[in-house]
Each structure stands twice: as structure tokens, then as C-alpha cells.
Symmetry: C2
Subunit: 304 residues, 2 copies
Amino acid sequence: MITLSSIRAAAEVIAPHVVRTPLLPFGSGWLKPESLQPIGAFKLRGALNALARLEDRSRGVVAYSSGNHAQAVAYAARLHGVPAAIVMPSNTPEVKVEATRALGAEVFIVGITERVQRAEELVAERGAALIPPFDHPDVIAGQGTIGLEVLADLPSADVVVVPMSGGGLISGVATAIKSIKPEVRVIGAEPALAGDVAASLRAGQLVRWDPVERARTVADALRDEPSELTWAHISAYVDDVVTVTEEEILGAVAALARQARLVAEPSGAVAVAALAKLAGAGTGVAVVSGGNIDPALLARLLAA
Amino acid sequence: MITLSSIRAAAEVIAPHVVRTPLLPFGSGWLKPESLQPIGAFKLRGALNALARLEDRSRGVVAYSSGNHAQAVAYAARLHGVPAAIVMPSNTPEVKVEATRALGAEVFIVGITERVQRAEELVAERGAALIPPFDHPDVIAGQGTIGLEVLADLPSADVVVVPMSGGGLISGVATAIKSIKPEVRVIGAEPALAGDVAASLRAGQLVRWDPVERARTVADALRDEPSELTWAHISAYVDDVVTVTEEEILGAVAALARQARLVAEPSGAVAVAALAKLAGAGTGVAVVSGGNIDPALLARLLAA
């Protein structure tokens, strides 16, 4: 389990390179817009902390990801002047491949089932360090800095809602919040179509859903599942999970653009949709985790 | 002329009620996203300061505006628990009328040429205080707080680009910056179709353009012209003006949504378009002044 002191240490390490996102009023609650980070997602926090804490990064870093973690590691590596090799599945949208290359990373396109193996080969061949998307204490500690900032900016917060996929974000945020102020409720938010953590909390143990099932949701960054490490944090610290429909997710994307002037991706709007269902829970904060939406999808939602 | 100390005093007055907007990296420069203020525009700063400094606000406040100033005054009045009467021209989009009413203001719809007169009548009838959109020292001092924040967050800034219309925003920002660090260049940004201040600076005196000419630009919040008060600040402090085309403005709106995950209105993107034309000018900051765009227009720009 990670500790509050590791999160506080991460905050110092990443401060020069991340945006200190403000809380924005939204309806009767607040937003923590991590979509405003340089790569458009909170992932930069964990990647920066993990990379900075590597004992030897001289031979570069490796990551596998089709999404925001790819760009986070590429960005962090460029900042530290080390090479980054990113393994992406062949169904990754070209725009994300190009964005990762534009950050100076070497991209390896492989079949979706070969991602992990190819990354491990690169680690072995190069002596490079693997930065996993969530299953690592330094990554979790980096994401936890969001919890410190929420409590610092809004000491009166009663509930903090955090989207869940692999669980790195909520593990860090919940550790920070429960260590400082245990009476603040930490609520996970999931698409109902990828509601495996909600099912796990009900069952009292980690329930695994078929990846094909989890892949149905439009929230494409929330299709992963917890590891043993993140489940340990989730089961210890998370008070409850709220699941939301696809319609609620897309409605939240549109509301964020219209009322908060934020471009959010569907995954980034899931906690906002969940917070809207928690009326009467007191002062709430929703983490807007990312903003890398397909512009054509946003256009359709705004034209509707 | 307003002073640095009045801006510093304004910063203390408004701090509890405005978002402390961060600087966001964007290309080789930075953005100051005032679009993230509660009403979606910097106007809240000036309205809050002016309202807080009224000697007697017991009989309420009056404003005339079809745009962001209307909502700024309504929002500030509600915060302070005083009635607000807002005079809006009959061509104001219904969505803006409703947004102003939703903030608790009483809205008076009049013909476009009767706005000022009707506002003055309301002031006389009610003993209420008029809060002008830019032609007032307290309003200018409130907007100037943006300049303090830019210098605090980015001491290495070389150039700050600010959109211009009535000139309240740039008057305040330029006063703050030139008082603290005169070597930082303050550049105004205007649509070429409403380039009256650029023409004024070239002529060395306030040049007035026909309102019909100024109304051609898509940047509907930048169709006003300076007063004697704001011109005094502009001519004293502004180093230069960059004008941008309509195409450059709309391109900047799309780039802000795609690359900075910000919803900006055309007027709010004008300084971003201008900064893009200042390559080689050093470390630049563009003020994104507002985000209240017609969602259908943003949808069209993103679908293109």
C-alpha cells in the first residue's frame, strides 16, 4: 500500500511540470479539470513521478498503451531527455499514434494481444525501464497528488468522485484523502457497461469481467480492470461506486462543453455524470480525468 | 489613470469569488484561460470589484449589455445579495437572456439604441448604481488582476497579448504589467474587421469607426470602442496591436478545443490568433478572455 508521504513527495517532484489545476464551480458542485494537463489527462502526474524516481533511466523507458498513458510517458521522457519506446495496438487511432510520435517517442505497432510481450522484449533488449499505466506504487502516488490539491483548495468537500478503470487514479486519490480526512467520502465512477469494480465491491472481492464486455462503453479509457495492487487500495478506501449509462456519459460531455467550457472525453466525464446522481451528498468534487475526445464526436454532441 | 495599488486591492476583494486560473502551455507559449471563470469570461473580475467597492449598493445595481458583462453583474449581485437590473437589446440571443435571468437578474429588453437611456432611467428611478462594462476605474482595476497573476506565475514572460474592445481588460492588465515589469511587452489583439485601436495607435489619437463596420467581425464581444479613460491607458502602456483575420480567429477557436481542450468564443480566441503571429517575440502569454460560444458554431468548426 502506498503512503501519504509518498504522495507528498510526488507532489514536489512533479510540481514544476504539471498544471496546478483549479477547482471550477459546476452546478452545486466542483470540477477538478485534469483535462487541462499538457497531454490532456491526469496520466502525466503518475508518469512523471515514476520516471523521476527511476534509479537508472539512462537507457530509456518503455510503455504499452493506446491512450493517454502513451502520451504521458512520451511527454515525461522528453522532459527528462531520455528515449521512450511506446508499444501501441494496431487498432490505435492514427491521430494518437502521431501525437505520441510528435512527443519524440519511438512507436511500435503490434497486434492487441502482443502488447505486453513486445514491451517486455524492449525492456530486455534495451535495459530500459517499464512504466506501467497503473500497477505501480510510483504511478499511483503521482495520481494521488490530485487528492492533496482537492483538499487544499476545498477543505469543505464532503465527497470526491473519481473515475475507475485500472484503478491507479482512485487508489492514489483515496489514499491521500482518507489519510488526511477520513470523513470525506471517496466514490468511484464507472460506466455501467464496464461496471466490474462496482460488482467487485458488492461481492467483497475482485470480480473479473470479460474484456469484450468491458470494451462496450464509449468511455474508452475506462475499459481496463484493477490489479491486485489497486484493488487493495480500492477495497480499503473507496466508500462506494456509482455506475452511469452511456447516455449519461455523453450528456455530461455536452454539459461540460456548454456550461463549464471544458472539452472532456467520455471517460473524463464519467465522474461528472456520477456526481449528478449524488444529490444531497453534500459538497461534491468530480475529477474530469481527460479531454482527448474525437473532435467529430464532440461536434455531434454539440450539434444535437 | 488607475494604479497598481488599486489592482492589488481588487485582487484581495475578488479572490474568494473568482477562479485562480492557471497558465496552460500551448505550442511555444502559454494561455491564461479566463473562459474558466464561473460565467465563462474575465468580466466577472471587474464586475465583482466594482460592486464590492460601491458605497451604497442597498438599492441594487444596473448594467446594460448583451454579452458577458450582463452575466458578470448578475452573478456578482447575487453573490452580494443585491438586486440586479440588466438592460439587453432586443437582438440578444434568447440563451443569453435566459442565462442572465437564471442568475436572478431582472432583464429589460429594449431597442438597441435605447440601452443606455433605459439603464440611466433605472438608476434614477431606483437609486441603483450603474456598473459600466469598461469605462470605470474599479472595473479596470478588477480586470488588471489578470496581469498580476500572469507575472506571478510566469516571471519569464516576454510578451502578454490581450484582446481589445472597449479596452477595460487591456487597460487593467497593461497597468499591472508595466507598473511591475515595464520591459514586458503588452500587445493588443483585434479582429482586422474591428481594428479601430490599431488605427488609433498608428494615428496617435483615438480614431472612431462606424459601429456598423465594427459589427462585421464574428468576435461579437470585440465590437465596442475605447472610452477616453481606457484610451488614456492604452496609449500610455500598450506597445503594439496585432490584427487577425476572421479565418485566423475561427482557426484559433478550433485549435483551442483540439489542442488545449478549452471551449473559447471567437472573441476569446483573438489573442491566441495574434500570439501565433508573434513568432520570435520570446515567451508569450495570450489571454483567452471568454468561452461563451454558440455550441452550433463550435460543432461546425470541429466537424470541419
